[in-house]
């Protein structure tokens, strides 16, 4: 009974706190341009869901679709690379404490603190021949997301007992097998967290594609929002419809991964 009451309260509170703002976005997305400009909670005079949807998708030669494709490629590639690299670093960083550990920790933290310098980065990319290429942008996202991922992995490797490492090493496992067969599977929940969070970050990234892979055919998803904003007249209905359209896929992806985290709970660990 207590469980039901708690659930009911949670659902109610969540609706008020989280769904009302979402409701505003959804309401504005289906209004016509003039009513949307009022920016209030009025009920739409006409329901223009299909028209607004079509207009947003067609804007600037179907920029939204190209943007989705680009953002997806960028996200999948960079997150896959990031997770593997960062897990390797986090693992060794936590296990092997040496005189370099302090410096490496500092360098990792600085990645979170210092914003990237755009123009020198462009110079580096140009000298490597990676400027204005998708692989170049993928590597940029990997570099900028590294700190967050390393931090998370390092923190969670601490929860894996060293006895497991020793058991595996005694059995003759080399570092690669130790990492791939023993450690990485135990980092499932944090790996999923990193995947989810970094996917959101990269998918919603606006400035990096703007500077490192410019051009309309290279547009990413956040950039499409600027099609409807202007100093003198913002088309709020299309802007919010665009926002809905670019929020929904990550939400779906999150709900999919969400079940995996639950699976982690019931599967437990391989200890004991």
């Amino acid at each position: 009974m207590k469980r039901l009451a708690l659930s009911a309260t949670a659902i109610l509170v969540s609706a008020v706190v989280f769904l009302i703002p979402f409701g505003f976005i959804a309401l504005t997305a289906v209004k016509d341009r003039r009513q949307a400009a009022l920016l209030d909670f009025s009920w739409p005079r006409q329901f223009r869901f299909v028209e607004n949807f079509a207009e947003v998708v067609k804007a600037r030669d179907y920029m939204l679709i190209i943007a989705f494709i680009n953002s997806t490629i960028l996200t999948v590639c960079s997150v896959a690379v990031m997770v593997v690299f960062a897990a390797m670093v986090g693992f060794v960083l936590q296990r092997r404490v040496s005189r370099w550990t302090g410096l490496i920790n500092f360098l990792v933290l600085s990645g979170l603190i210092i914003p990237p310098a755009v123009v020198p980065t462009i110079w580096v990319l140009q000298s490597l021949g990676l400027f204005r290429t998708m692989p170049g942008l993928i590597l940029i996202e990997v570099a900028f997301g590294m700190s967050f991922s390393i931090l998370l992995f390092r923190a969670f490797v601490a929860t894996i007992p060293r006895e497991l490492d020793e058991a595996a090493t005694i059995d003759g496992a080399g570092p690669m097998r130790l990492f791939a067969r023993v450690i990485f599977p135990l980092l499932r929940s944090v790996a999923i967290t990193v995947i989810v969070v970094q996917s959101v970050v990269v998918f919603n990234d606006f400035t990096n594609p703007l500077y490192f892979l410019p051009g309309d055919q290279n547009a990413t998803v956040q950039l499409t929002l600027y099609n409807f904003q202007s100093q003198y007249s913002t088309q709020y209905n299309l802007l919010f419809m665009n926002m809905l359209l670019i929020t929904v896929p990550p939400l779906v992806m999150f709900m999919f991964f969400n079940r995996r985290i639950v699976a982690g709970l019931t599967a437990g660990s391989l200890k004991g």
């Binding site: 755009v118 067969r181 410019p214």
Partner: protein
């Protein structure tokens, strides 16, 4: 089940690599030109609705006249982010073949002599309005042609309210304040302000510039040389005082701190606000959002203290420029395009694309007769020559914090004299950044 076995990792890696290979081909393979047939030029414009419509209209009409040249329009954000994109692309040698960008002080910040193609030798150079030419000239060389028409800065007003209260268009600031008092007595907010869009707070100060140069013609020059400041030039400081006056008298709309420009325009159109200090660009917003009320809106220049010296402060349009990285056949094609833009056909194309915000600055171009009344109200100031470019077009010195300082004055947080002094301090950074002598 998501098991993270090594086989799975290998699979993911394989997918990644193949995606990388694929993606190395896909973006960028669109928009490539066939060298045998036509020349394709890329044209970078900001992504506001206005600029997009004008740019695409020009591209289409030009290609109709010159079938062997295609213009492809690319977008960039507006505002500060757009400034950075333009500067970054120019400095890394990665700019499109043609691009549009502000004229005046922002144009100077692009280091034109280093980065842009000089156009003084072109035939169309003689067609351009003299005042406009000064805003796209550096080191004595011309670098751009106008994109769109001029914009006026002054007071948009609701003619229906004026008629109802039997008011006359004010010719001095005192008359303006007297009108405001009567409007307030009738229960309507006299002056609309929209500080949620911070840049709109600057209008009362900036649109006052004609009145400043009427009293002190060499102010812009001395200002650039750090010989005159806002704080110690009474005519200039008057602008800040005017903003404080309307706040102190309680003439502002009640929601001034939380409204955006579009709501301010709506106040004006509905008649819940009588005056809106604004650029005539906003008339286009009224045409889009409240087309049935456009006939009620009029425009007059911001009055000074002397009726005889009344005149309009003009904002010059953006310019179209060619970066030095455009060469050979593309350079010739680009120059042809600029010639088109600076011609009567170009003006007609622009007027067709979007409601003009003011007269064109190319000789031989006239405003179409169906422009809204508020735009027509600007014509007398041009016919009589009673107009000056805004300060940012006569001097490269403009501080970045002006809009925030104006919000403070207009909200009663800071007094006018203090604000003028603060702004003088702010522009020092800009002047030093530009390496101007005397600062």
């Amino acid at each position: 089940m998501l098991t993270l076995s090594p086989r799975r990792i290998a699979a993911v890696a394989a997918v990644t690599i193949s995606a990388l290979v694929l993606s190395a081909c896909s973006p960028g393979s669109l928009g490539s030109s066939d060298p045998n047939a036509a020349t394709t030029l890329s044209f970078l414009a900001d992504n506001s609705e206005t600029s997009m419509k004008i740019a695409e209209g020009l591209a289409k009409d030009f290609s109709a006249k010159n079938p062997s040249i295609t213009i492809k329009v690319e977008t960039r954000p507006q505002g500060g982010e757009g400034d950075n994109v333009v500067k970054t692309r120019l400095s890394t040698g990665d700019m499109t073949d043609i691009f549009m960008y502000n004229s005046g002080s922002l144009f100077q910040a692009l280091k034109p002599e280093q980065n842009l193609v000089a156009l003084g030798d072109q035939a169309f150079a003689g067609n351009l309005d003299a005042a406009f030419k000064t805003t796209v000239t550096a080191g004595g060389q011309l670098y751009g042609v106008p994109f769109g028409g001029a914009t006026g800065g002054g007071i948009l007003y609701n003619k229906a309210v004026y008629q109802r209260l039997s008011l006359q268009v004010p010719k001095t600031w005192t008359e303006f304040m007297a009108n405001n008092a009567k409007i307030k007595a009738a229960g309507i907010a006299p002056v609309i302000q929209t500080y949620q869009d911070t840049w709109t707070s600057q209008l009362l100060i900036l649109a006052d510039f004609h009145n400043v140069s009427a009293v002190q013609p060499d102010f812009a020059d001395r200002y650039t040389k750090n010989q005159a400041k806002y704080a110690n030039t009474p005519a200039a400081a008057r602008g800040f005082q005017k903003l404080q006056e309307v706040f102190d008298a309680g003439y502002l709309t009640k929601d001034f701190a939380s409204t955006k420009l579009e709501n301010g325009v709506k106040h004006l159109a509905d008649g819940t606000g009588a005056h809106y200090p604004m650029l005539t660009f906003a008339v286009g917003t009224i045409v889009t959002n409240n087309p049935d009320k456009v006939g009620d809106i009029g425009f007059f220049a911001q009055p000074g203290d002397d009726a005889a010296k009344l005149g309009l402060t003009v904002w010059e349009p953006a310019g179209v420029y060619i970066p030095k990285t455009t060469t050979g056949a593309k350079l010739d094609a680009a120059k042809k395009f600029l010639a088109f833009v600076a011609s009567k056909e170009g003006c007609d194309s622009t007027a067709k694309a979007f409601t003009p915000s003011g007269p064109f600055l190319v000789k031989g171009c006239a405003l179409p007769s169906n422009v809204p009344g508020a735009i027509k109200d600007m014509q007398p100031y041009f016919d009589s020559g009673a107009n000056s470019p805004a300060l940012e077009f006569l001097s490269p010195v403009k501080g970045p914090a002006l809009e925030h300082i104006c919000v403070e004055v207009g909200s009663g947080i800071r007094k006018a004299a203090d604000a003028a002094a603060l702004y003088d301090q702010d522009v020092k950074k800009q002047a030093q950044q530009l390496g101007l002598p005397g600062w």
